[in-house]
Amino acid sequence: MEKTIAHLKRGEIAIIKNFKETDVPLKLLEMGCLPGNLVTMMQSAPFQDPIYLNINGTHLAIRRETAAKINVDPYV
């Protein structure tokens, strides 16, 4: 199974690879969630959802269901 943003642990950094489905909201792309950019898992909310990410310098919150649609590569 491919690794997605939803799998990241707190503090973990990864590189956005591609989108699993086409219906990833355009808004996410506009906020900088694009293949090649770095994503850092900052924190999850109480009850593990939503999650708080730093994508390419933008701090944003999305739900796990959306995060599970974005594949990532490990960042080394």
Partner: protein, 703 residues
């Protein structure tokens, strides 16, 4: 002669756009609505050199010109319609230094519309601390425009910006990214079909997905969407939009590589440290709860001093007017109708100002987004999202802006549910009613030395309103057969120290509009009530004097006591007395007499009218220099004897006001936002029924 130009402020949310707007316009601003829709429209005037006046329009914050909410579509509408009164001579795109990359996306889109555009980079004072350097000259060349560094908070660079606006005619209008590379063939066909139109404009019109209601659009474009050019499937269009975003970011990345350097060595920022505490699964909620508690204690405790003072002031005003003007209907209208009615609204200025003060602090500091984040998971269970929390929290000020604040919720079902349940949250118009009844029936005691019992009751009422809101959301989510497609993407802004000027302007602006708006209704109702209470028909009213004197002839009453008996006999047989008696059967099971019944009926227009109505009725009854609270305390229950305001009837009233939909203005807004009478009618009926049965149950159990 001075010339006037239109300037539009555009930018991502949280870039300090409002601070800049306040710097440019000061108190020369007004808030209104866009024609036909209820999105807030902030305008102001800024004087420039050479007799030039800038008419500044603060557009809603948006991340791009691809709309997913009505707020955003307002921005697109304004920029697309060259014939509109608001069409800008110059667009000022506000960005902030730390999110430059993302902010530039919007800039390149606006540039493609060939409108003269100035790029403002705000928060320049942070550059040194964050070790950021920027090659402005190079940037101006690459972006084909003027770039201005400012700090709205520190009041730096504002004059440079004014200069740049003054010289708007020198700005270049050619675009910096060519969107047509994403599908050259398609764009070429568009260009040929509409040679006189801007191709990017056509593209925007085709791709906009605005499903929030009818929005005026330039007629020429109507056929574009439905007609021969709609050959691309929605899927394809979406893919192209994704592609467009990638192309724009490629341009921006290339640009920033040349002009921006950031020394990455700077320490961990304050944000993550604060977030670790404020978003903690235990501390986060505890802090949120404590903040709420502080707000309610403040509203209750601190504001009581100015309130007592205003209360006394109006009571003596009324007495002075009555004794110094010649006796007659006009004097009594002023002394017994208008002054007490006005007093009933003026007295709540301190509390409303406090409430708006705290709400604007929370918003300004960036904490509100954290609340959204904390609450999303909980709200999801009720068919809402964290984004519904902001309307629900602003509902504590007033339901009208709260209903308007639902406009950034993308999903229609979620938005409708939020609109329908928002009036349950305790708005400031309920405060007057709550405060006076709490003061009457809840003892002024401390609990465990810290909590004031009255303050705690108030807090419980707020929680009750909030609980009613999310519970009905849950029901509506189950019941409403609307398909949903919801996603949740929200920016977490950096923490900021709130700016005094911004907070002050919000408090003044909102308090003023609340007082003036409510004041008009209250004034009108006070006058009507006075007339109804001062005139009546028949023997019992015209001969009240003799009837009462005869009735009590044997009891040896003092003249004052006798006068009061006469006045109340007159009131009982006035027009309003008959109305009150007619509805009494309906309100008696709730523990109210006919006077409270009248107050309830008249406050269906607006809740705060309740206190004003009782003030008017009691003033008509006795013209002594007493405050309403004292008069209410002295009222006796005509049937059961004893004081009218007991614990049972007080709680019953509190519950009635907690649930009932008594606000014409909110109903009007809901009608506009949902495009019809259906939803406001449903809302009104349901809430009134809930209120009635809750009050009935409470009184019957407690009495």
């Amino acid at each position: 002669m001075s010339r006037s130009i239109n300037v539009a402020l555009i930018g991502n949310p949280n870039t300090g756009k409002t601070s800049l707007f306040n710097r440019l316009t000061g108190l020369n601003q007004k808030v209104g609505n866009y024609p036909g829709i209820t999105v807030e429209k902030k305008e102001g005037v800024c004087k420039l050199d050479r007799g030039l006046k800038a008419h500044i329009l603060d557009l809603p914050g948006t991340y791009s010109l691809n709309t997913s909410s009505l707020d955003e579509s307002v921005v697109v509408e304004t920029l697309l319609n060259r014939n509109s009164r608001d069409f800008p001579d110059v667009a000022v795109v506000v960005s902030d230094i730390e999110n430059l990359k993302r902010n530039l996306l919007l800039f390149t889109q606006i540039k493609d519309l060939e409108i003269p555009t100035i790029l403002v980079i705000n928060m320049a004072d942070r550059m040194e601390r964050k070790a950021i350097t920027l090659d402005i000259e190079q940037m101006e060349i690459e972006l084909n425009t003027k770039v201005v560094l400012i700090s709205a908070r520190k009041n730096r660079g504002i004059d440079d910006l004014k200069d740049a606006i003054t010289q708007y005619k020198t700005l270049k209008t050619d675009p910096c990214v060519n969107a047509s590379v994403i599908d050259p063939e398609y764009f070429e066909r568009l260009r040929k079909a509409y040679p006189q139109q801007l191709v990017y404009k056509l593209w925007l019109v085709i791709t906009q997905d605005v499903n929030f209601g009818k929005v005026d659009r330039n007629r020429d474009f109507d056929q574009l969407k439905s007609g021969s050019f709609n050959i691309k499937s929605e899927e394809d269009l979406k893919r192209l939009q994704h592609k467009e975003t990638v192309v724009r970011y490629q341009f921006i990345n290339g640009l920033l590589k040349k002009v921006l350097t950031v020394d990455q060595l700077h320490a961990k920022d304050l944000r993550s440290k604060l977030d670790r505490v404020l978003l903690h699964k235990v501390w986060g909620y505890l802090i949120f709860f404590l903040i709420l508690l502080v707000i309610f204690q403040a509203i209750y405790d601190w504001s009581s001093y100015p309130m007592d003072w205003i209360d006394q002031l109006f009571a003596s005003f009324s007495a002075i007017t009555a004794s110094s003007l010649p006796a007659g209907p006009l004097t009594s209208l002023i002394a017994e109708g208008i002054i007490p009615g006005l007093g009933g609204i003026v007295i709540f200025i301190p509390q409303i100002a406090f409430l708006f003060f705290f709400i604007s602090l929370l918003e300004e500091s960036g904490y509100m987004s954290r609340v959204v984040f904390l609450m999303d998971h909980i709200m999801k269970k009720f068919g809402l999202s964290g984004k519904s929390v902001v309307p629900l929290v602003s509902g504590t000020a007033c339901a009208i802006p709260a209903v308007m604040a639902t406009r950034n919720i993308e999903d229609w079902k979620e938005r409708l549910i939020t609109i329908l349940v928002v009036p349950f949250t305790t708005c400031s118009a309920r405060l007057p009613v709550y405060l006076i009844i709490i003061a009457l029936v809840i003892p002024d005691q401390d609990l465990w030395w810290i909590f004031n019992l009255q303050g705690l009751t108030l807090m419980l009422l707020y929680l009750l309103g909030f609980g009613a809101a999310i519970f009905s959301a849950w029901v509506l989510n189950k019941v409403l057969p609307i398909k949903r497609k919801t996603f949740f993407v929200m920016e977490m802004p950096a923490y900021k120290l709130p700016m005094g000027k911004n907070v002050l302007i919000t408090v003044i602006e909102k308090t003023k509009s609340f007082v003036l708006g409510a004041g008009k209704i209250i004034m009108a109702i006070s006058i009507v009530l006075w007339v109804l209470a001062s005139y009546g028909l028949g023997e019992q009213f015209t001969n009240a004097d003799e009837i009462v004197t005869q009735q009590y002839a044997s009891q040896n009453l003092s003249q004052t006591e006798l006068d009061q008996k006469i006045a109340s006999h007159e009131l009982e047989h006035s027009f309003i007395g008959y109305i009150g008696k007619a509805i009494e059967p309906a309100v008696r099971p709730l523990g109210y007499d006919w006077k409270i019944g009248i107050a309830i009926v008249s406050s269906f227009a607006a809740r705060e009218v309740f206190v004003g109505t009782l003030a008017t009725i009691y003033s008509v009854e006795s013209s002594e220099e007493e405050t309403i609270k004292n008069r209410m305390q002295a009222e006796t229950n005509p049937i059961l004897g004893g004081p009218l305001f007991t614990f049972a009837s007080g709680i019953s009233l509190l519950l009635f006001y907690a649930f009932a939909m008594q606000c014409m203005s909110t109903l009007a807004i809901v009608k506009r936002e949902t495009n019809g009478w259906k939803w406001p009618a449903v809302q009104f009926t349901a809430m009134t029924l809930i209120a009635y049965f809750a009050a009935l149950g409470a009184f019957q159990i407690l009495q």
